[in-house]
Symmetry: C2
Subunit: 116 residues, 2 copies
Amino acid sequence: MNDLPQQILKGSLSAIILKLLSENEAMYGYEICQRVKEITAGQMRVTEGALYPALHKLEGEGILRTHTQQVEGRTRKYYPIVPDQHGQAVSRLAQMHAFLDQLQQVLNPQPNVRLT
Amino acid sequence: MNDLPQQILKGSLSAIILKLLSENEAMYGYEICQRVKEITAGQMRVTEGALYPALHKLEGEGILRTHTQQVEGRTRKYYPIVPDQHGQAVSRLAQMHAFLDQLQQVLNPQPNVRLT
DNA sequence: TTATATACCTAAGAATTGGAGGTATTCTCG
DNA sequence: CGAGAATACCTCCAATTCTTAGGTATATAA
């Protein structure tokens, strides 16, 4: 009954999204899923059932907007960061970093530096 | 409406608990809360409303057990790791580490090492 | 023509956490 | 002595977030 492998830490998904969108101008949903798989060599997967609600939430918060485009008969919906919301994205990522630092602090406590 | 600071990433709490209990023989609930506050200089807090259910779940899974003790008129309930379950604890922590590595991979991508 | 890949999405349920509340004892300060 | 803080346990409800499973549709490969 042990749940296994690549579950996402709840709460980290929006950070992942914002990070990728910060670096890439604009991506569409399916692309985000693939990219994460790529980066982590298939070990972490963002499911669409989690991704789309998260994207829509960020859109609802005014951080992302959308525009669709037809590519070879298929519709792609891009989710760029709203231009004047990049600061928001950065600060959210900073928060996540801060949290991860704290978590590291607990899980991998730095022995006090000892000058010898 | 931006939710702020020190919320815990869902899923990380049981790892925090197992880490502390791995290092400390046995701790009681209140102590765990205080310890986390200490380690993170007050920036991260484990709330009791989350802690106790998590402890009871780990107990239900057979990883922790309990024994109470009276100390200066107050009851302390210790939650040591069941002796032959230390392996479980270790492997769960390893899983968390693996996940955090993946997350770092996405949030702080290593530029490909370039030998010059 | 059937399956796979691409591409979007929703809905129901599980799981986890935060916040608020509740009980009880001891200690501290005025 | 009384009030409040600290110590110590706990539960319940609401909110959030994810997983699983499903649904639609087109293009390409077998």
